[in-house]
Symmetry: D2
Subunit: 135 residues, 4 copies
């Protein structure tokens, strides 16, 4: 992705990039696509009835990640109170989805991949939220 490159050209950013937030944006879009794909793959597994909760959490996590990616991208004016809350919520979505996917990871490879994407995104959201005080 080109998040760092384009956000660094925002007139109010002037090269002062928040690296943690950039990484969070990239992880959010990656995690969203991965969750959409995991839900889709779960749906055709033989044991789909055991994967219903996983599909639910996948779809919720994907929606939350896309909203977090968009709100984290904008640098005009400020909306820090929302951004902190959104990053916390996204970390929750990713943690819950990762926990469920990890249960199915030994049998479903897509769940193993999705759990990893969710854990990376969870960490990135936490790091971005933590970086805010000084940016």
């Amino acid at each position: 992705m080109h998040a760092q490159q384009i956000i660094s050209t925002h007139p109010d950013v002037k090269g002062q990039i928040n690296d943690a937030l950039i990484r969070c944006i990239e992880e959010c879009y990656d995690c969203a696509q991965t969750c959409i794909s995991c839900a889709d793959a779960c749906l055709v597994e033989e044991n789909v009835t055991e994967l219903r909760q996983c599909i639910r959490l996948n779809l919720d996590c994907g929606d939350v990640c896309l909203a977090t990616g968009a709100t984290s991208t904008r640098r005009t004016g400020s909306n820090e109170e929302l951004l902190r809350s959104m990053l916390d919520t996204c970390a929750v979505a990713c943690r819950l989805c990762a926990e469920e996917c990890e249960k199915h990871a030994p049998r479903q490879e897509h769940c193993r991949i999705c759990a990893e994407a969710c854990r990376r995104c969870e960490q990135a959201c936490q790091d971005a939220a933590g970086s805010f005080a000084t940016h």
Copy 2:
């Protein structure tokens, strides 16, 4: 919208509808569309430079409302921890957008309409979050 009608047919819901959550879903989609429209109208106002923060908050609020509408719609399995956090975050997004729109409401009619939609959605999110303990 037909949120109540269709959600009441979900096999796990069996007619036991959470009215506060249904209302929240409807307000989320209404607020999302209104915020997208307010940002779009602000953009062609003569005083657009004074409305930049409003456009930022509009776009953020619209994204958060759509994610809240989707996650609030699903009734398969459960994802209450996420839903509570998302409803809280959505109430924050709506409050911040309403506060900014209210500043411009005397001059910009779309900001007056958008502020009202955001206040309704903020209240609906709070009511839905509050209803969860007993559903």
Copy 3:
């Protein structure tokens, strides 16, 4: 929804509302929520394996409807070539989802409701596309 009310305040619209487009916007958000809900309800049905294709079409249709609702809402400048193409694509998404849902309507009430929402949205997209020549 308040689509008509807020779009009529856009400085470039000046009360000259395209009624077909307004109705299309409202149907798009309604259909998106209905499709998300139908996919979610299909997932917990006993015959979920017969409903996989329905879930796939539901999720695709929901995504397309949200993008159509957003692009149809904006009145700044113009983007007619895209809007025509998007409305045509959305009509396709709605028709295909309706056709599949209609197969399951006798057994699954949510599929009956979703098929109706998709048919209304398909018609609204066609009407909106047809209205463009004169607006």
Copy 4:
């Protein structure tokens, strides 16, 4: 992104990956984030009134790219008629946004970056649409 890795684990894909479609998915999410960012940067430029059409096209293109990324990700059942139409529409959205951004590229660096992302995504959509006959 991990689109190729996760989609290759879908039970119906069985390693038979459509490389053009994978690349299209990645370009769609990249282009969506870039368009959201370009609209946001345009908004704080001194010449914002000259960039209104660019912001409009950015926001529309971002919405369309996200819907295309999601519908292109799913491999359950089939939805080829929709996918072809969506890929065509996305190519239109990207082309129109690129043409507008290219006008501003000499003065606005974010428009130069965004035009490039749109052109890559336009090409990827065309390639993916073309690849469908044989997959």
